[in-house]
Symmetry: C2
Subunit: 299 residues, 2 copies
């Protein structure tokens, strides 16, 4: 079944202690869409400027991503630049140039409105809601977010949370949203805001799913070299929704496996700058990491 | 089979954002010995002063811990006091009064020297080595450490590492010892210092075993309230060695399960101040958490 993904489509300039790369293909929707594409068809909703490199459109196309919902507007593509510290976990934003993103209003082509699986990747919660408004009856809606929206658009985010099945956020965001330091209690509080399934991402420590009163501890694939973790969380969510859409049966039953597939895709993401390593991955390589994760956690 | 445990036996005064408790039973050997006692007989090596409360000796005895190797010397028991920050992960030491520990030289009773399983819990590496010198032919030797010894007794620690089968240390210690930020590569470097099995503890994120070119990701039991994490790492190591000694077959084959049992015992430790919650646990309660950890990680 097809997956609709909305989020940011950007150019990222990323500096790590080892290397620096300018104007890579980035953005939450780019990472999530390529990650999801390994499992089945993806429809992308986003906006880029007329400076957007043709080779990046080709990369989307190579992954059979439907671009009917990608607006190409006069002006500059959203540009983010950031720098990672030595430990590769902390990063600081050096610059954010919104460009055409400033006036972005997602418009869903008619062919998109029946998509059963929806990933609202990180973007302003009002825009995530605007996408949902245009959908007919999605079967499973996942949303991601970032600390920025907790700080400047909390009311919009709370409104959105009542409409999503599965909410994905990272540790510090969970603590901030729930105003609760303990992650297990934070997850419980977040359920009360709407989502039936809450996933707390913990980077290299994996992720925790809280669902139906039960928890699942999802492992992260251990890497002995992290080139650039940008987009790992988006790849995780994208891999998840892609696998869920391809799997038979109700989404709930497959959530654990979907997370481990998401984790496998995210590990590729970290091995290269921007989308370089993800784009070079394959379904077979992902399957291999999924199996490795089974062996890594068996006792 | 019996387990020999050497380490510190102390009185801990602990402050958390919620509570404060003075002169609790603490020390690496106390935590490890009680943790190991759930699985079989334990022989303790340590030193306390003549101010050591009788009720703490009774607690050891209640857990059938052999105290022949516990010296009771004129003077004060080692006293540590520390304070935890709100997140319960960071702590700072307020005071360390060595007391009788200053001149401690472990002396093994004759009946201890044949113990097949040995845990060198956190204590100066020269003392850990001095215990090994007195052992006949231990089957499996585990050692723990702390950052202090990396800073002031690195040569002794390196000498010790050539004599241990399994070395347990936490994330930041692994990074410091290996001078390597990536944990997977840090573990590889630590193998070259001697230990066949390297376990990196990650607190609430579990632990990683590196052994025979393979990794195992050991989960931590998720807690919705942490009263006091002091001694959790010692309980983990103690639970591990206790289970290994009780299990049939070579220690290597059981390492993964041993770690999960250690993790289960450590979770009880965190639920109360000092040894309070651990001492109230039971083999059945530990078994229940082990099974819960299986369900929490299954996919």
């Amino acid at each position: 079944m097809s997956v609709l993904i909305v989020g940011s489509t950007a150019l990222d300039s990323i500096k790590t202690p080892r290397a620096e790369n300018a104007r890579l293909l980035g953005g939450s929707a780019s990472h999530a869409a390529v990650a999801a594409s390994f499992f089945g068809p993806v429809k992308l909703v986003g906006i880029v400027g007329d400076d957007f490199p043709r080779r990046y459109l080709d990369l989307y196309r190579k992954h059979k991503i439907d671009l009917e919902g990608l607006q190409i507007a006069p002006g500059k593509t959203f540009h983010w630049s950031g720098e990672y510290e030595v430990n590769m976990n902390n990063r600081r934003t050096l610059a954010t140039e919104l460009g055409v993103f400033e006036t972005f209003l997602p418009r869903l082509p008619e062919s998109y409105r029946d998509s059963p699986f929806v990933l609202l990747a990180n973007i302003a919660p009002s825009l995530q809601g605007h996408v949902l408004d245009q959908m007919r009856r999605p079967r499973f809606v996942m949303a991601d977010t970032m600390d920025l929206w907790l700080n400047i658009a909390l009311a919009d985010l709370l409104k959105l949370l009542r409409r999503v099945d599965c909410f994905v956020l990272n540790e510090s965001e969970a603590r901030q949203l729930a105003q609760e330091d303990n992650l297990m209690r934070a997850a419980k509080k977040i359920h009360r805001l709407g989502p039936k399934h809450v996933i707390v991402k913990k980077g290299e420590h994996g992720a925790v799913l809280s669902s139906g009163g039960r928890l699942f501890l999802c492992p992260a694939f251990p890497l002995d070299r992290v080139a650039d973790p940008t987009g790992a969380g988006d790849s995780f969510a994208g891999g998840m929704i892609g696998w869920l859409a391809a799997a038979r049966g109700p989404a709930e039953a497959g959530l654990r496996r979907a997370m481990v597939y998401g984790s496998a895709v995210a590990s590729f993401c970290c091995e290269g700058f921007g989308l370089t390593a993800t784009a070079r991955a394959s379904r077979a390589a992902i399957e291999k990491r999924f199996k490795a994760l089974q062996l890594l956690t068996r006792f």
